[in-house]
Symmetry: C3
Subunit: 664 residues, 3 copies
């Protein structure tokens, strides 16, 4: 378990580099990521390459006992290149080109840009193929950032037509699969299909879903181009990519096969402000939301069921959220430990030093722009010696997450309050509050190792999925199915039968009808003898073989079943019609864990979380209030002690379910 | 009085059709509307027509004793047509084309699209000219939906120039009429006039108003093309069109001459969310706002002073509003009775069955997608036997509504809170709360049959209007003139005299000055010895011959006249300077009804409404609270009884003014 | 000190002009501004000029003893001109042209439009070069109104490249100055630089800043073209321009050298609604915010440290704010006196008469559209005899305001609550509440005459500025430096050292770190033994030689220095890390004034302000509550008396610091 840092030597005089690298080593850092965004520095004119500066930087890193991770610089092509080839630019849906001058404006499907990508990646990888200090590569940077997964240019139009032809074979099949009789939307041939442009009313949902799939596949192909070229140069190198948090438009799982491990960029105090509904608390503005960060850790770990890296870890104040309070004292250490507890092998702070120039001047580094240490440097230096080697996380519960269901439900949310990630979080947070490690995995994942599985919204469900989940339950698995599961078939049509379509036999119930409810309604469910809040969505269940365990209390839904329970083989399946509030989610999860025999704790309060890895249990406190731990008398603390201060962490050699809070 | 349904046989296997039609007949439905949006099904390739499916569906409908209503399918031309002729697309004001892929993207002025329209309408009407089961046609679908009345393409530019030349004759007349000296806006010739594109500051209001008139006239011409072709094929057919609710950009009255009766599409729980300022109550989210629905009934009835149809009646939950609670139990029955009370001859539910494909999957039908009955089916079946034949509504009061005044005031609202329909509703709701039937008619309507008339905002007023209203009053009519009346001449210039311009003699007063007031001000008027709230607008009246009956209480307007009253001949005219709150509107209306001798009730509470038609009085309860009626001892209930439950209705054979609520 | 009016004779029949002008003279008006927007009237076809109407109007004005001020009509070119030369149109950043049909759509850099401007200005100035009644010219109208300083057309692209080449000489210097290594943003040559178009992520801040400077310089050049042509025709004429209030995109100071005096357009009840964060009070909706108006007076006075004109004074209700309550009784008189107190030489009401046509029908004049007097006419007539000749304002305090710092901070606000003008207003309002006259001047202004200077945010700070301010302090000046001062160098890069960069020696402190805080945090500073609120921004100060005088009370910043104080030579410098609330701003200002020996009052309440000019003290009451004054027993009132009513003014012959409120 290691720390590292992202470094841009080209932003500073070369005389300074030796000092910088020495200070990195002194702090105990082990990895230095470089060359991201460096294309114009590496190739100032077409064909004129300058690697001397990078050679020197890599050498310095190696000389100080650290490893270099390099990046392909394709997120920011030089101006001379886009002036030569303006066709490499993406376009908005109305045809407006996305211009040079920031980053990520190039089309994944541009044949020209793929050629140029191949050219620069070959040059760079060839240069360092034999360099002992370079251990691996990050392909490009944050694919799809700034809403750029989906492009609407002419190259994309052509590629989309090919994608459709290769997917459907003939246009009649496409028309049937999408359901194009509606509103006279039949296509006469593949040539007549366009990217979805500006229309007076909303688009056909099947057309949109396939466009989003196509756009995603374009990124997969573009990433594979990088990965293949990197491995061609040196097969010992690892290849990774830095994904983003709560990211909606790119299916991280679909890139997993081409990467050795996944990385992601964790900015806790920004995420609570700009990609999660609900106002952040002051504690969250200081340290973030541990379940928001944790869920992303678990997605990127889940993609390969293997350790991941945090390729960018927030180092202090950053430039892009609306508000930028200073992180809580110690938060930069807390985040690193929290990542390790969730299965990270390495955590790289972004960036070494606050940059004087360009768009990110208000983004702190471990060092200030004058070279002096900022708070992050002290936190990093304190953390490095606390880390130690660990086996991977072994999670007892799988949470089934499906990007295509995200795309499809958010295209037809049927409520302004529908938010796929937030609904998923209702279950995730309940599991994490009880300390349970959760693999967030695609629904097609083999489920053999799991005692229980939670499927918040498998909206697009075909027969294959039904078979897969039925087998899991029959083999003794315990399954929780959430709202809007099975509403659609994989082409985004309604099933011929009522939801959950092919999952109805397994669930022992169908959804008789549904409604979406704004906050002004009273929304509660009777469950286990108590009244529990729900929100936004109410599916009225109609059990066939299932037993009713919860009913709606009021409104038009009064007395309709809301939670039903059935068994199959050695397992059980519980189906939930509504979006549960925290109390109902906890009750559902507690019952699930009990049925599955999964070790867990009493619920920890918001902002305080426990997690077990390799026989150690971490307690991370993302709040400003110190907490006292109750642990077995003979348990050894390897980090901290039984008082976990504000924004502090303790690691104790103890199984999870022996750990709790005093007086809570 | 009949029920019907909208049916899309092309969305389902033909094997199912007989079952569907049989279930329609069983529910007591009498009309089946079909073929809307069917162009690509009817003509899959240019010149290749396939009517067999529709022939069969019409035949089935007829075989079950029902009548078919067909639609011209021009709201959704096939992809092959727009690929052949991309010039048929509309354009936004900045020139962006409105693309194929939803509906309503074609330009009303496109010569190409008019040709294509003529071609398809001739084909379809010829096919069914001799079919005994087809009783009439709906021309196109929801003209102007999705903000498409106004197009800014090259065809529209050319047509606008012709429209102006034919309206004004020479450009000097145009420059004078608009007042183009302002900001050097004189045109040298008609060729130099463009549609209003993106400008740094706001547009000339006279230019905008004429563009809106021109765009409206384009729809009138386009509709006439349909109507003429339909009648040419079979002169016995009726021709109608399905207008929309609270619709701002299309003057429904201007299409009335070309239609046999008007239809409209009523979606009560959607309208309260997306086209009416103010948050809906939970009751409204379950059943809608009876005065919002009623006003639309009365507009489309008023257009011809004749019965109308509800061509689409909400059948349950629908796809397009933000939130979609299930309608209240019985609401689908309530809406049908309410429509009949307001003068509907037929109410067609939209749609027969929830569609598996395309944009409207979240729109319920009378049946679910698996073919089983949904709540709407039961409501429809319960309603059908309760309907009986009735004479048309005979309304004692005319409410004068002018679409051009809507367009002109909303172009220059002078307050973010100005909303033409809402201001009109202040008076409409007060009349309806007292049970009075109201014809909502254009100001040019002959007023002979009316005892009283209310003109909330006749903003654009010429001498002709003044003569017309003066004659009404002199002949014994009682007139109420509301805020912003007579501010402008018909070209959207201020009058040379103060408002109400040519109506000043009739009013016996002028508007000395006006102001718009945000909510934070105390806004009240003294009237009849009490203080009544007003909102948004205060015209300070300056009576010449009129008597002051109300004065502002506070602010800079304190003691200025707010309500004045005058007489002329045998009638009276009351002029109101402000936008009245509910209390003031009721007081003004009560005084008007008393003066005019119009029968009315005590005010019913919000959501409960009474209406008389043909000697019967309906009491409709749009709330979740049951109500007890007080009716004459010998009055016979033909529907329900003296307890009107939640979302329930009663019909009693009794004059309106003998009906009231117990204990209210 | 004079009153005047803006007149558009072309909007009215010529028969009326004599009456209009006579009524102006009767009211005591002395200046009549005309011909603004008159191009199409003056030149209805290319080369066909019609000046007869304007000759007659000028003659009438002169005959009634008044002076004419004419305007070049270039804000509204005729339609025939833009049809001939569509290249004169500006373009939005995405290339959409700004169309004819309102005003201000022409590009300042268009060679064609500069030629046309020269042609029309030569014609008009030649016509009146010898006319004794014309005393001066307003160049164009409200440069940059409707967001038009910045244009993105091809002419601008070319001009920007030239501007950069002339600024930087070679492209390497540009790349270095901007810091283009970041994200591979190096330019290969000047030809490759474009205006900043639509990009997925934000633009390089240095590129934006230079684009804003370039756009500003384009206006300077365009204005100089007018000024040179006007003076060429008649060197005795004055040349001015009517700037706008709280205007963010045009550096008024940069045009000062080309103008004889600056004018501006004051619309108090609109400004509080649309260009100032924070909801207006009801009093402000009636009369405006005296410090908002005052700050603008002081900017336009400060530009030349000389009297200015109000070229447009709100005359009553106006058309463009969201809400338009009638101004408080007397407000139009109050505003004129308030302007005079702040140094105005003339106040011209806009407009003479409400216009019947075009975009501004809802803009009152001194007379109504029917020719009768409106409230403004009575106020103007009451004010004229109250005015008398006065020496210029002699302000003891300079407030250093830098438009480029506004542009740069609002490009990188780092908080949604950052608003340059509002932060500046914290200090300005505190000074004005104590009656102090303030010159709002550019930072390069010679500071010799000032006892104290306040620099709220000199964000872009170079060595020259440091030397300038150090000299001021060393020579006995007392300086207050506010938040975000010295964060950047003049090219919008961070300094190599921590803020305030080159000002750190003077301040005796650096900013160790900063944070931005949303409202939900408790934000207070301990200062002078009390707790004072601050908001939005906290710079944690690190004193080197300075003494700490205030510390943060809570949060991560607890105990960090917030206010530090140092001396240099005979003066002092106080550095403030946060955005002070009203209480802290008053305390800081009080200490500053005390140190500098500047006469001042006890704080006046919100809306009530005192100001001294030439030995007289004005007390202006912008509230609805009457106030009683305490003045020396022998002090003579020249306007009003010791009770200042609602929206009223008193002028007393007394020094400022002898004036106060009773019982307050």
């Amino acid at each position: 378990m290691s720390l590292g840092v992202c470094y841009f030597p080209e932003h500073w005089p070369s005389e300074r580099w030796a000092t910088d690298v020495e200070q990195m080593a002194e702090a105990g850092l082990e990895y230095v990521r470089m060359a991201e965004f460096s294309w114009a520095r590496v190739e100032p004119e077409r064909g004129e390459f300058d690697f001397a500066w990078l050679d020197e930087a890599v050498e310095l890193v190696g000389d100080h006992g650290m490893d270099a991770v390099l990046c392909t610089p394709t997120a920011t092509p030089p101006k001379w290149l886009v002036d030569e080839h303006p066709d490499i630019r993406q376009a908005d849906a109305d045809g407006t080109p996305r211009e040079w001058g920031s980053r990520r404006f190039t089309c994944f499907n541009s044949p020209t840009y793929r050629e140029e990508t191949e050219r620069i990646v070959r040059e760079m990888t060839a240069r360092y193929a034999d360099d002992p200090h370079v251990v691996g590569w990050q392909a490009d940077n944050e694919y799809g950032c700034h809403r750029t997964v989906r492009c609407y240019c002419e190259d994309c139009a052509a590629a989309f037509r090919e994608w459709l032809e290769s997917t459907y074979g003939d246009v009649e099949t496409l028309n049937e699969a999408w359901g194009n009789t509606f509103w006279s939307q039949q296509y006469p041939d593949f040539e007549s299909v366009d990217p979805p442009g500006p229309t007076p009313a909303e688009h056909h949902p099947s057309r949109l879903l396939d466009y989003y799939r196509f756009a995603n596949d374009s990124v997969v192909e573009y990433n594979r181009l990088h990965a293949d070229l990197i491995r061609e140069a040196n097969d010992d190198w690892f290849v990774t990519h830095n994904f983003m948090g709560d990211f909606p438009t790119l299916d991280a799982y679909s890139l997993a096969d081409d990467l050795d491990f996944l990385g992601w960029d964790s900015y806790p105090t920004g995420f609570v402000q700009d990609r999660r509904p609900g106002a952040p608390t002051t504690d969250e503005l200081r340290a973030g939301d541990p379940d928001e960060i944790g869920m992303n850790h678990d997605v990127y770990r889940g993609a390969k069921r293997a350790p991941f890296w945090v390729l960018e870890q927030q180092p202090g104040d950053v430039n892009w959220p609306p508000h930028v309070p200073q992180p809580g004292e110690g938060a930069m250490r807390l985040w690193a430990h929290h990542a390790v507890a969730h299965g990270a092998d390495a955590v790289l702070y972004f960036r070494w030093r606050r940059c004087r120039e360009g768009q990110e001047q208000y983004h702190a580094g471990l060092r200030k722009q004058d070279g002096s240490p900022d708070r992050g440097y002290h936190d990093a230096a304190a953390t490095a010696p606390e880390l130690f080697d660990l086996a991977p996380v072994d999670a007892p519960v799988a949470l089934l997450h499906d990007y295509e269901s995200l795309w499809a439900t958010e295209t037809q949310p049927h409520s302004p309050d529908w938010h796929y990630w937030s609904h998923l979080r209702a279950y995730y947070d309940a599991l994490r509050a009880r300390g349970v490690q959760v693999d967030v995995v695609p629904p097609s994942t083999g489920l053999d190792g799991y005692a229980a599985a939670v499927a918040p919204t498998l909206y697009l469900a075909g027969e294959g999925l039904a078979d897969h989940l039925t087998a899991f339950v029959e083999n003794g698995g315990h399954l929780l199915l959430g709202a809007r599961t099975g509403e659609k078939d994989p082409y985004n049509q309604l099933h011929e039968t009522l939801a959950p379509g092919p999952l109805a036999d397994l669930a022992g119930a169908r959804v008789a009808r549904h409604e979406s409810l704004p906050e002004q309604f009273d929304t509660a469910v009777d469950y286990r003898g108590g009244a529990y809040e729900f929100r936004t969505w109410a599916g009225w269940l109609d059990p066939t073989t299932a037993e009713t365990r919860g009913r709606y209390r009021s409104g038009e839904a009064a007395d309709e079943p809301a939670v039903v329970h059935d068994g199959a083989g050695d397992g059980t399946v519980t189906t939930v019609g509504c979006w549960p509030g925290a109390g109902l989610a906890d009750a559902l999860v507690e019952d699930l864990l009990a049925a599955a025999g999964v070790a867990h704790t009493a619920p920890f309060p918001d902002g305080v979380r426990a997690a077990e890895r390799d026989g150690y249990t971490w307690v991370t406190n993302f709040t400003s209030e110190p907490r006292s731990l109750a642990v077995p008398a003979d348990a050894a603390f390897v980090v901290g002690d039984d008082t976990v201060g504000a924004y502090d962490v303790a690691v104790v050699e103890s199984p999870l379910d022996a750990v709790g809070l005093e007086q809570y």
